[in-house]
Amino acid sequence: MVLSVDKVEFSYGKANILKDINFKVKKGDFVSILGVNGSGKSTLMKCINRILKFKEGMIFVEERDVREMKEIEIARKMGYVPQRSETGFITVFDAVLLGRKPYIKWDVSSKDIELTEEILKVMNLEEYALRYINELSGGEMQKVVIARALVQQPRILLLDEPTSDLDLKNQLEVMKLIKEVSCAQNIASIVVMHDINLALRYSDKFIVLKDGQVFTSGGREVITPELIKEAYGVDVHIKTFEGVPLVIPKSQ
């Protein structure tokens, strides 16, 4: 198990955001976290990499308790892409190179430069290397931040709504890239998704949150009209098209 989450609870003051969260993730898994707004998806992501300090329960990464790991050790195990990232007056190369931060002492090594170059190539960003990131489109920027997370050489990739600002083509491209790279490098990806169909197309495991609890989890078979009704409050049909289940909301 690369990640196991055991009875995790989290609250902001009195408001209980996460209750009794349990799940396990294997190497190479592509896990989608689903649920309505405010169901605790982003909070869960931040608890996993200790940006938020949960009080109850335990999280193990490759059998190590995250509460006993230093920030920098966690950053070497997990690459995290938040919902929003700020741009700035730095080049794409520098923006990706920043992912080597957990390994940098005084300055970057030639290995850091090489790895950055490799990832730029994998993500098809080479021609943008010396562009400033504030000149990029949403899709390009999203690839840059994912490239940054990958250059951390993580065992686990945590992506919070990586496709929410992207057009259809970029949505498919980014999801495909994540899937390919995580397969090739045997990284577990945990992705918060709003688009259930996109999740069904690329993920092999699903965790559905409701009111801060794991409502259900498992493979594609757990995504049923009854589940969608319970978790999202929407009546849907589920049809299989070209081997992929499609969730279609019923007309009113």
Partner: protein, 352 residues
């Protein structure tokens, strides 16, 4: 050459260009230093200057070594400090207006100095000439100014630490602190004698001419470890630049980086303001100009902001000595005079 190498060579030459910009700044500073040694009431020729620099018995030697060199070094070192302080504060507080002035450090120092002069009787007006105003007990005044500066910013940082407030709240607390200190200074002045008020007002006119060799050494000895600390954390500041959460995800302890950055830059700032008085705008403008020119990579931004800060302050001081010669203006007046229009120009030219 393979495609792979092209990206890396392209990146390396991009890095080299940043070094060239740094070299140009150093060159400009060197030229200004030479020019600045020449400018002054005693009209020294180039020969006298060169002779005076190497031969301590020469005619101009004492003017050069006792008056002009300490003044120039004070301007350079203080300018470096201000450039760095602005650069770090703007980064860690995520706010383009952050500087020792907005955090209430200058106002705290002014209050401390006023307290020393008025309440503790450290100063008085003893001549009509500007330079001769002040200060029966300069050490007490300097110390009180330093304390005033540190107390204000410490309260802000303590609030931030205990309540873990946002950077915006820290800026607001700094602004509130400056308002309190300004009110405190005015309160003291209201009950003070004319000469005491004049002395406190003169104290706030920042002037690098106040520095003697020992002040220069103290500032220099503080600058070096501060600069080393900031350079060591250049990548942490780069991470903060792209957002708090991303930085945390990269293993950066953002709260600690913010607190330490503020503490160290406030400390150096408190020392320079205590020795030299209030010199505005340099700390705000130098990092902004450099950010526009070389970007937000702090490996380059920190040292070039320092050099540009030194350059701005030294040019301003040279202007201050030359423009109404033989009257020597306090450099604080010039930096704001030159700085504000320059700032407008940059904002309009660069947009955003």
């Amino acid at each position: 050459m393979s495609f792979k190498d092209e990206t890396v060579t392209g990146y390396k030459s991009y890095m080299r260009n940043k070094l060239y910009i740094g070299a140009v700044l150093v060159l400009a500073l060197t030229v200004t230093i030479i020019f600045s040694i020449k400018v002054g009431a005693a009209n020294l020729s180039v020969y006298e200057i060169l002779n005076g620099l190497v031969n301590s018995q020469a005619a101009g030697a004492s003017i050069i070594w006792n008056i002009r060199i300490p003044r120039i070094l004070a301007a350079i070192i203080a300018g470096c400090c201000m450039g760095i302080e602005g650069c770090i504060m703007q980064n860690v507080l995520r706010n383009p207006l952050a500087s020792p002035y907005t955090m209430g450090i200058s106002q705290g120092a002014a209050f401390g100095a006023a307290f020393a002069i008025i309440v503790l009787g450290a100063g008085a007006l003893n001549s009509t000439q500007a330079d001769a105003v002040i200060v029966n007990n300069p050490y007490l005044t300097v110390f009180a100014a330093f304390l005033g500066a540190m107390i204000g910013v410490s309260i802000v940082l303590l609030i931030a630490r205990v309540r873990s407030v946002t950077p915006e709240a820290m800026i607001l607390a700094g602004v509130a602190m400056s308002a309190m200190f300004t009110a405190g200074t005015m309160f003291l002045q209201y009950f003070a004698s004319d000469t005491q008020v004049a002395a406190t007002v003169f104290w706030t006119f920042g002037d690098v001419g106040r520095a003697v060799w020992s002040d220069v050494w103290i500032m220099f000895i503080l600058l070096i470890p501060a600069l080393a600390y900031f350079m060591y954390h250049a990548w942490d500041y780069n991470s903060l630049e792209i957002g708090e959460e991303t930085a945390k995800g990269l293993g950066v302890n953002t709260d600690r980086i913010r607190l330490h950055g503020m503490l160290i830059s406030s400390f150096t700032s408190a020392v320079t303001v205590a020795f030299l008085g209030v010199i505005g705008f340099v700390g705000l403008i130098a990092p902004h100009i450099m950010r526009r020119i070389i970007g937000t990579d702090h490996r380059f931004l920190i040292p070039t902001s320092a050099i540009l800060g030194a350059l701005i302050l030294l040019v301003s001081d040279t202007v201050a000595r030359a423009i109404l010669a033989p009257i020597v203006l306090p450099v604080g007046i010039i930096t704001s005079f030159l700085g504000a229009p320059l700032f407008f120009y940059i904002i309009m030219k660069m947009g955003r």
